[in-house]
């Protein structure tokens, strides 16, 4: 019990929670991107991949609950830490930081990404909710594709042939068609690109701060960790946005 | 006045051991029934407060800074001496003892110095155990360096921040006791008077510097660890807040003030840059290991440099006067502090100073850079060169540094006996605040040693001797007439300071006083000057009480009021310094009387007539204080004349 309170009730403990759940979510973001990229291998590949995930059954639910738990803890600790931070500094300085060594301003003023973690995080959370409604719960009202019902997109066992009338749980979902239909709507794609951009912005600071919070950073390896954070964020950004861009450019299309 | 030093009998090397056995002990179960007040939280105060609390006494500790960690011990750079002989170079307790007595120009008390040398070894053990990150060798053992011209390497150090690290060690012990509830800490609290009951020190009156509240605190004994009085000169390397108030008010209550004329001037400080100067900054003495001190041979060249028409590099080698190397061929630039300082003054008095004010000489690293390369010089002194550049804006790799002596440490202080108790029973004085161990001149790296020796290893034993004779319930109620009366005195003084409402700021008086003392009672003193000062200071004091302007009120944080109170004490104390300098018709250590010098211009001691501690007794306002003498007897060390030729 001591151990648990030590984690959840102290500043440093909550930073661990933040870092560890952040690491888990980063893992999810990477796996999700790799899965999504199968769209470039054609309908069969991505649909089969989706079907396999679905076939995991209870395990899938374990993963989903785990993810949800991580998201919950990540947000909880973020809100808790942020509210403490606000209480710790209630008065802002009147003057903008202008050090006598002007070139040092960049070091002294908190980087934009670091300053805005809570905002980028909350916007990403809102986007994630939309994204789930869009592709997982398949709410027609929000996909912007003229009330297209993604619930009706199914494929036969060859993962390619669309079915006129599929059934949840019996037939395989036509994920490929959902993606293409979904991203053909420019507004949806733009929102997606912006959200992924924010996510990567969030990661560019979060990944490096994670190493710091877990205490595995030092001067020797810090530059490499920072490079890793920026590099991974950039790759993830490119990986994700390649899909809507390809759809809009008709590089990926149905048929 | 009874100035019995209570030096234990027996051979020098056994005095302390014997004395520790002879000292009365306080029953362990009774210690918690005693309360001790410690004023000051520097090396001596923090170590004393922590150690007394460890022993079981209840301690109240007071400091004027916002945290005990900020006492001015923190600014000591060089190191701390200890007779560990880790370097196998022939050091010993006896050698450290001998060097300290000799360095003090035979004006310190032998038995105290020997004890200091003895316990010096314990200090290093204690500090290492506290986690003080002393410099180490690759083998993991402690590193040493030779310091201040010592012939052995006995100085322990932590980069250029030894004082800081030792103070933080003592502060950590103190913090531990505060956390345990054995020490009650009062930061931002200034002691304004000591309370005597039947001649014994029984408490103090303090002012809370945030709220202005005056309060009375009683105890079974009072320890003053309030540092030196270097700020009497206004400009010194002391911190802004360093003051004489605690010791001076104890003096006014009957404690004898010993050797106030002994002040140490440090030769390598950054020169004054203008009238705005608030304090002076010391540069480590180690710079003289490689830097060469010089001025131009000709006054006209110096004049041109002062006007900015010439640069140091324009002066040809043959036109330079490396006066320390010229006059002291064997020690050269490494002559002791007082000798270096005095010669610098002479060169400047001769019109050959090289900074705008005329008060500065060159400390040149050109040869060292040629010989060792800039990178080697940077490695040795990089942080000092950086500090120099920060303050002066000048790059000392390209242009020579300019330096001038500044007041740095005061050897005088309240008179104490071997037990560190003043002539007022129950009033102990430790660290720089007492007079005891350095005689007329302090050796480098010995101030830290003395502060910690007193606080960790001497006072905690000797205070038992007094407390064992005081019943635990013999504690004066703070509502007693003595306490109330003392508080009234304090309040009256504060009201008086606030009510003058004249035109001049406390700083302006302080600056003027400092100038008088620096001119007449500084590096070189003479009868005429001292007599003039003794006339001028009371005049200034009179003006102070007629024309002082302290804005605000007592009931809030009022830094002008704090300062005014301190300046008021300096204005009285300065006169005492001059009186002491006047009576001491000889030159010794930091006290140089121009009338008493050898034909070569060196200090000339008069052992026959002045081998005594001059302890002054307060006789009342505007009365001439009375001089008492404690004769110094040298059993172990033979007096010789110092020579650095």
């Amino acid at each position: 019990m001591d151990f648990i309170t030590g984690i959840f009730k102290t500043s440093l403990g909550r930073k661990y929670v933040m870092a560890i759940t952040g690491a888990g979510l980063f893992g999810f973001v990477v796996m999700h991107m790799l899965g999504n990229l199968l769209v470039f291998a054609g309908p069969a590949a991505i649909n089969e991949y989706a079907a396999k995930l679905h076939a995991l059954g209870p395990l899938l639910w374990v993963a989903r609950i785990g993810l949800l738990g991580m998201v919950g803890l990540h947000i909880w600790s973020a809100i808790k830490l942020t509210s403490e931070n606000r209480e710790a500094r209630t008065v802002e300085y009147d003057a903008a930081a202008e050090p006598v060594d002007a070139h040092r301003r960049g070091d002294i003023v908190a980087k934009f990404a670091a300053r805005t973690m809570i905002f980028s995080g909350l916007i990403i959370a809102a986007f994630a909710f939309y994204h789930l409604a869009h592709f997982t719960w398949k709410v027609p009202q929000i996909n912007g594709a003229g009330m297209e019902d993604f619930e009706s997109y199914y494929v036969a066992d060859d993962f390619t042939t669309p079915l006129a009338e599929g059934k949840e749980g019996k037939n395989h979902a036509d994920v490929f068609k959902m993606i293409v239909t979904g991203f053909k709507v420019p507004a949806v794609s733009v929102f997606y690109v912006v959200a992924v951009g924010l996510l990567c912005f969030h990661l560019s600071h979060g990944l490096s701060a994670m190493f710091q919070s877990l205490g595995i950073k030092n001067k020797n390896i810090a530059p490499w960790m920072d490079r890793f954070a920026v590099g991974a964020s950039a790759l993830i950004f490119l990986g994700y946005i390649s899909i809507p861009v390809s759809v809009l450019a008709a590089f990926i299309k149905i048929g | 006045m009874n100035l019995d030093a209570k030096i234990p009998s027996g051979p020098m090397a056994q005095k302390w051991d014997k004395h520790r056995f002879d000292l009365k002990l306080v029953n362990p179960a009774n210690k918690r029934k005693y309360e001790v007040i410690v004023v000051g939280s520097g090396l001596a105060g923090a170590s004393a407060a922590a150690t007394l609390a460890e022993l079981g006494y209840n301690v109240k500790c007071f400091c004027f800074q916002d945290s005990p960690r900020r006492a001015h011990s923190i600014a000591a750079q060089g190191g701390i001496n200890a007779a560990k002989n880790y370097q196998n170079d022939g050091d010993s307790v006896h050698r450290l003892f001998y060097d300290t007595v000799k360095g003090g120009d035979y004006r310190s008390r032998e038995a105290n110095v020997h004890r200091l040398a003895q316990v010096s070894v314990n200090i290093i053990d204690q500090c290492a155990a506290q986690g003080v990150p002393f410099a180490r060798e690759y083998g993991g053992l402690l590193a040493n360096r030779s310091f201040g011209g010592a012939q052995v390497s006995r100085t322990f150090y932590a980069r250029g921040q030894t004082g800081q690290q030792l103070l933080l060690g003592a502060y950590s012990s103190l913090s531990r006791q505060i956390g345990l509830g054995k020490v009650q800490m009062f930061p931002r609290t200034e002691m304004l008077d000591v309370v005597l009951v039947d001649g014994h020190a029984k408490g103090i009156v303090v002012r809370d510097m945030v709220s202005g509240e005056i309060s009375r605190h009683s105890a079974h004994a009072v320890v003053l660890a309030t540092g030196g009085y270097g700020n009497a000169f206004f400009l010194s390397t002391n911190a802004m807040g360093c003051n004489v108030t605690a010791t001076f008010r104890a003096y006014k209550r009957g404690a004898a003030f010993a050797n106030p004329c002994y002040t140490q001037i440090h030769p390598t400080c950054i020169p004054v840059s203008g009238d705005h100067q608030s304090k002076l900054t010391l540069m480590s003495e180690s710079l003289r290991n490689d830097g060469r001190v010089w001025v131009p041979k000709s006054q006209s060249v110096a004049e041109k440099i002062r006007k900015g028409e010439l640069k140091a590099s324009d002066v040809a080698e043959g036109d330079r006067d490396y006066y320390l190397e010229r006059k002291y061929p064997s020690f050269g630039n490494l002559v002791p502090r007082d000798v270096a300082s005095r010669n610098t003054k002479e060169a400047c008095d001769d019109g050959r100073g090289v900074v705008g004010s005329g008060l500065g000489v060159y400390l040149d690293f050109e040869d060292a850079i040629k010989r060792l390369g800039e990178s080697a010089v940077r490695e040795r002194y990089g942080n000092l060169f950086d500090m120099y550049e920060k303050i002066t804006g000048s790059n000392a790799y390209q242009n020579p540094m300019t330096i001038f002596p500044a007041v740095h440490y005061t050897m005088g202080g309240l008179w104490v006996d071997y037990n560190l108790m003043s002539n007022v029973p129950g009033l102990y004085v430790v660290g720089e605040a007492n007079f005891s161990d350095h005689g007329a001149n302090r050796l480098g790296a010995s101030a830290l040693m003395q502060g910690l020796a007193d606080g960790y290893f001497v006072l905690p034993y000797t205070i038992g001797q007094y407390l064992a004779g005081v019943a635990p319930d013999d504690r004066t109620d703070t509502n007693s007439a003595e306490f109330v009366g003392t508080e009234e005195t304090v309040r009256a003084q504060i009201d008086k300071l606030l009510s003058v409402k004249g035109k001049r700021t406390p700083t302006s008086f302080h600056r003027e006083l400092g100038q008088i003392i620096w001119d007449e009672c500084g590096m070189a003193r003479n009868k005429t000057g001292l007599e003039a000062a003794i006339k001028k200071i009371p005049e200034l004091r009179a003006e102070f009480w007629e024309n002082l302007n302290v804005p605000g009120e007592n009931g809030s944080l009022n830094q002008s009021l704090e300062q005014a109170g301190r300046v008021a004490d300096f204005l009285e104390f300065g006169e005492l310094m001059c009186r002491d300098a006047l009576q001491r018709e000889e030159s010794c250590g930091g006290h140089f009387r121009e009338e008493h010098q050898t034909p070569e211009g060196e200090a000339k001691r008069d052992d026959k007539n002045f081998s005594f501690v001059g302890a002054w007794e307060y006789k009342g306002e505007n009365q001439t204080p009375e001089l008492h003498k404690e004769n110094l007897v040298y059993e172990e060390v033979k007096m010789t004349q110092r020579s650095y030729k």
């Binding site: 006598v100 | 410099a135 060798e137 800081q164 807040g241 809030s556």
Partner: protein, 254 residues
């Protein structure tokens, strides 16, 4: 002698902890570039007293960058932002004629303002009292050379131990986090062998007190390191995080 400067100061004035406070403007004329920043304030204060006003209260003591008393935010930057420099060591030659300089106290809930630029930093002392020490009684210690300490570790401990406790890290941090200060102390004592027996207890106790004092959390912005007059590295915060995790696993809480 370089040219004298005339400056405009915009200074935070607050009578006591309960006062709401306000900015007041002052003229600082004939300022020499050789003055330190605090000497410039001395000059302004002498003028204020002369005109019957109360001087600007600010903390300062050693004025050589080691006691950690001085504490002011100059133009939005703790200590003025010259690398590795306290306000007392900052000199006016870095400013230019005609400039307006804004001076504010450290801003943090855990550092309430006493008056003007003077703040209460006793929170730092209370953190130290919880564990910033090695519990050794005077006298009961082994010979100093009985326990060898590797030079590298000792040097690293010294890097951390240099902290002057000025609070600039808290002042600069947008979250008013005291982690750089606490990390410096925990790191110093955990790096030397003498500090090992209390290593876990110390980390847990000091972090808890830090939290209780109302300091914010680290969001790894690095502002603290950038303004630290002793240039204490952010690495020590990582080390503290590691120490804390280790202590949690070994000991739970205290």
């Amino acid at each position: 002698m370089d040219k004298l400067m005339n400056l405009k100061l915009k200074v935070w004035r607050q009578d006591d902890a309960d006062d709401v406070g306000r900015f007041e403007e002052y003229q600082a004329d004939d300022i020499s570039p050789d003055m330190s920043f605090l000497e410039m304030l001395d000059v302004v204060n002498e003028g204020l007293i002369g005109s019957g006003k109360e001087p600007i209260a600010f903390d300062s003591d050693c004025r050589e960058g080691i006691c950690g008393s001085c504490s002011m935010v100059i133009n939005g930057t703790a200590h003025g932002g010259q690398k590795g420099t306290t306000a007392c060591q900052l000199h006016m030659r870095h400013f230019s004629d005609g400039m307006t300089i804004t001076i504010e106290p450290w801003r943090a809930t855990a550092f309430p303002v006493h008056r003007d630029l003077v703040v209460d930093r006793t929170a730092f002392d209370r953190i130290q009292q919880k564990g910033g020490f090695i519990s050794v009684r005077t006298g009961s210690v082994p010979d100093a050379n009985a326990i060898p300490v590797s030079k590298d570790e000792s040097d690293l401990a010294m890097d951390a131990a240099q902290c002057i406790g000025c609070g600039a890290c808290v002042a600069a941090c947008k979250n008013a986090s005291a982690m750089l200060f606490v990390a410096a102390k925990i790191s110093h004592l955990s790096l030397v062998p003498q500090g090992q027996p209390e290593r876990e207890r110390r980390a847990l106790a000091m972090v808890k007190q830090m939290d209780d004092e109302g300091f914010g959390n680290c969001t790894v912005t690095g502002s603290c390191e950038a303004v630290c007059p002793k240039e204490i590295s952010l690495d020590f915060i990582a080390r503290m995080n590691r120490e804390y995790g280790r202590a949690l696993i070994k000991k739970g809480t205290i």
